[in-house]
Symmetry: C2
């Protein structure tokens, strides 16, 4: 098969991205080739600029354009409330709800011994330090509802249990718009266990 | 919602690509932020380099790294056979079959009056010129089996009918591995009309 080398390299670039298969990588490569040179340069520049400008907040570890993220530097938010999440993107998802007005703490991962991720790889020291030094009343654990997330939640809860901080975890149950008939057993068990007075 | 501006811009960059929705764009943006600066620069550079290196063959219009594509400059290929396709990527798909050993002619589009694409927008003059000047025996039309592709095929066939060139179109019918039970009526009608002696 005669594939121009530069095209092959371009397709390989797109293949590196998560969730992009060979067909999609080829489609993206051809889209890029159909763009003008100026557009391609603008796309390339936006990528490098984003990488240069975006850093992680020194306090909470969420995405920031300065040393402190917009959440930590916002005095109107509730600084007595900290929500612990795995990844910076989880912060954005929680922000989209518009319900949460506290601060965050991003662990940058979850415990996963098989992948070599132990407590030392997560931002746990910084978490304990924050809880000790700031006047935090409640820590809400919002790790993922899967094996790694559950293990991380248990570990974090135990780690901070000696501190005078209320530790909670976000609720699990049926998703809104979901159907009991199609719910899996684990979700349903958690929904039953997490039942509340009406 | 507090989204860092640089992240917002990066997500917008990915949104421009075809087939990338908001969730996927966010995923790709976060993947890029997780890469090292060197990797991001390498990705950005590969994009600009591909755009700079890849051009279209002056003869057939398919992708090339030089003035002539590898097909047109290959004396071992059958220069009496030209396959007419809509897009440069169609050439790569046909090459993957390993069956075709002739040359190509890329129209760079299909007739679509609603989108303002008439015969003047396609590489038809170049096609006629090639058929007149080179010793071509057969032109195989391989435009898409849809309204635009069919209209383009008819137009091209009529355009080149005065020339001493055999004009054919690739076969339509049931896809290999397909099931008659699930074939749509149009495909099945074409399969019946295109039946051959066994």
């Amino acid at each position: 098969m005669v594939y121009p080398n530069a095209l092959y390299k371009l397709i390989e670039v797109f293949r590196r991205f998560p969730g992009i298969g060979p067909k999609m990588a080829q489609r993206l490569a051809f889209y890029l080739l159909d763009c003008s040179r100026e557009e391609v340069v603008a796309i390339a520049r936006a990528m490098v600029e984003a990488k240069d400008k975006l850093t992680y907040c020194s306090t909470c570890g969420s995405l920031a354009e300065e040393e402190k993220c917009p959440y930590c530097s916002d005095s109107k938010r509730d600084h007595a409330l900290i929500c612990i999440v795995q990844e910076p993107k989880d912060v954005l998802v929680l922000e989209r709800t518009g319900q949460y007005r506290g601060l965050y703490h991003v662990l940058h991962g979850a415990l996963s011994p098989l992948d070599g991720i132990g407590p030392g790889e997560l931002r746990l020291d910084q978490l304990v330090q924050r809880l000790e030094q700031q006047d935090v009343k409640e820590a809400i654990i919002a790790t993922n509802p899967n094996v790694e997330g559950d293990a991380t939640a248990s570990y974090v809860a135990k780690l901070i249990s000696p501190l005078p901080v209320r530790v909670t975890r976000i609720a699990f149950g049926l998703p809104v718009g979901g159907d009991i008939e199609y719910a899996d057993e684990l979700t349903l068990s958690r929904a039953i266990n997490g039942r509340r007075e009406m």
